[in-house]
Symmetry: C2
């Protein structure tokens, strides 16, 4: 496949998809839901092929779980699509409406971004979710899933594409790319692709970010922190620390580093360490921490920029909330960081000063997720600061344009003072 | 100067500026206004040095006008600052407030982006305006102005920096870079600079965009179109076309191409051509156009991707609004494009389908400007689709963060079904 050529064609049909009514986009989503339901045996058969190949390749059990596409995951996916149908239209929202002068009306209207490339991990449910989000928001999409789900994705994509065309969407509004080398072709499509959303390993996302001129939304690493202030409510704190670390250690919003205020370290740290160890976590930390608890490894300063994605946690003592903030801003990945404190002033300082997408007080970093925030589905989590930050739902998939309607107004009349703007919001 | 080192230091003080109150930021702006007023003789003397050097270098009169900083420009600048003071705080706005569950409250709060690099043309008023916008929005700024205004900028920057420090802003929140080779150093500061805003020539902006990993907001070219449909109101149309071309031909929102519906070309085009020529515009166009009017040059298809920035206009006949849209989406720069029509349906089609920051009906493309839109000052015009599009005012200089406050909530309780989210907007 010539990805550049296909992307160019897709760009040409993007305005037609962008102009489609919400009724039509929702009808396409309903057809996808029905298509999945009606073709489930075909889908499951394809998934068995992927599972068989993965087992033969000796892929880890944890990964196999993600590859598997069964009745429960399909029903979750269908429920997700039906929920998406009920969400308000992200397109065509009037964000500003202003009369600049008599009969000269400006409106800022939300509209789809255009062509979005999404490169995602080997999870069949991700393909369903991402393509549905793109359709709902009126965007054309180029999709590349993990190779371990090739058979399943092929069948799913065929069903999704047929459903979308049956609902009257323009031919060429969805494209699946299967070959790994086609990713590089996609990265070169900066004239036609408006946004890339890469999901997957740090190294992979960083590779994408460093090898394209297309704007990228996402995150490479998730180095999240929990800071325990001396004003902590201990009983509340320990379950939060354990949850932040172990509830799903491979997730980007799992905590990697525990910062403890020096004043309470001798008392608090042994209790926290015991709870973490009981939950299967091994601990690394500074020499100072080692004087208080046993460690599985002593760390140098620079080691704190490590994302384990595993049942391992870094431990460091700090003097105060200010040192905690400085550590987080220096070693963190601007994802999600939490302070455990009963003191409003320190919480406020922490939440103001930590430069992250999520700043939390007294709750697990694992809450950083579009579903938990009530956004419906999410297309990813962004640690960048432009456009969308944190969990990105439908809102992150639209931009806006300015519409100005006049009756022959010219700028010369305003420059000469013959006319003046009155800027009256409508 | 070691720009990377300075940018690193600036990044560290960005959270403190971000957390400063609006009262303090406004006080800094007031001090800048007073500082300009109180130091005007010093500023004008410096400007005379720049003007003298520029005259000796034989710089064009049009450019000299922009270099000149006189009483009128200063008073405009001071008035601009005082208007900025009256604008609502772009920082700390609650964009979303939602209880995820009992005692677990999520808020999306606007906050400054952090460190912004602005590289701008040789205009002293630009330095005043840009630094004021950055201060108002709580952002640290690295500023690089055109070399022809070195003396003026040096004095202006000193006054601005002293004013800001006197208002209690953190040391190191503003930096001026003077050497051209320091631009390349700035482009390499992707760890510490959050956003670059380049203004200036196409080639320069494109160079910036292609040589940095820092997100860039702006536009390289402004190839704006006016399409004349056969349903046009002729009397209204001709002044709009002339204004769009000549009111300030060097501006990015000046029209470069006139597209005329074939059905009315024989009647309309000679009238439009006469009006344009009377205003000093020379015309180029397709062979087909040449059969109707005299041209100063015949154009091939690819020549339409030209930005003249001068009193020259490209002319082409098209079959219908659809062909006009296709031409604009292919050859335009996604800046601002206009349809002249009395027909609502065609206007709607054009405004939906043209993929530009501004889609206009029956008014001059020259209205695409932050001041004319009523945004106060603008920091630039973006033709990108992410974050901010079109004229960018204060809103484009902020992002947001999510604050989540709980009482020890953990995700495991929601995963197990022990608790459920109720997502109630507050």
């Amino acid at each position: 496949m010539n990805v550049r050529e296909e992307a160019r064609k897709m760009k040409l049909c993007a305005p037609a998809l962008a102009a489609s009514s919400m009724e039509r986009r929702n009808a396409a989503l309903e057809k996808i839901a029905e298509g999945l339901q009606n073709n489930k045996e075909r889908i499951f058969a394809a998934n068995r092929e992927d599972m068989k190949a993965a087992e033969e390749a000796g892929i880890q059990t944890a990964v196999l779980k993600r590859l598997k596409y069964d009745e429960a995951k399909m029903q979750d996916g269908i429920a997700g699509i039906r929920e998406l149908i009920t969400l308000p239209d992200p397109v065509g929202r009037v964000l500003l409406s202003r009369e600049l002068d008599e009969g000269l009306e400006l409106r800022r209207i939300s509209c789809p971004i255009g062509v979005i490339g999404v490169i995602f991990e080997a999870r069949p449910d991700a393909l369903v979710q991402i393509s549905s989000l793109c359709i709902k928001s009126g965007n054309c999409a180029i999709l590349k899933g993990g190779k371990e789900t090739t058979f399943t994705n092929r069948v799913l994509f065929e069903i999704i594409r047929e459903s979308v065309l049956a609902a009257g969407m323009p031919e060429g509004c969805l494209l699946q790319v299967e070959q790994h080398n086609e990713i590089d072709e996609l990265l070169a499509c900066d004239r036609d692709v408006d946004l890339l959303i890469p999901r997957g390993s740090n190294a992979f996302v960083r590779y994408i970010m460093e090898n394209t001129k297309i704007p990228v939304m996402g995150h490479s690493s998730g180095i999240c922190h929990v800071y325990v202030d001396e004003t902590v409510d201990e009983e509340q704190a320990i379950p939060v620390i354990v949850d932040a670390k172990i509830q799903y250690a491979a997730a980007c919003n799992a905590a990697e580093t525990l910062l403890v205020n020096r004043k309470i370290a001798a008392n608090f740290l042994p209790k926290a360490a015991k709870a973490l160890r009981d939950a299967g976590v091994s601990l690394r930390g500074t020499e100072e921490a080692e004087k208080i608890i046993d460690l599985d490894g002593v760390m140098g300063e620079d080691d704190f920029a490590t994302e384990y994605n595993d049942l391992i946690m870094s431990v460091k003592l700090v003097e105060d909330v200010q040192e905690a903030v400085d550590h987080i801003n220096r070693f963190g990945s601007h994802h999600t960081d939490c302070i455990l404190t009963t003191d409003d002033e320190r919480a406020e300082y922490f939440m103001q000063m930590v430069d992250s997408a999520g700043v939390y007080r007294n709750c697990s970093t694992r809450f950083a997720d579009g579903y938990r925030y009530g956004f419906g589905a999410e297309v990813g989590i962004s640690t960048g600061k432009l456009h969308a930050r944190g969990p990105v739902g439908l809102e992150g998939l639209v931009t806006y344009k300015y519409r100005l309607c006049g009756h022959g107004q010219i700028v010369a009349d305003y420059a000469s003072g013959k006319k003046t703007f009155h800027h009256r919001d409508l």
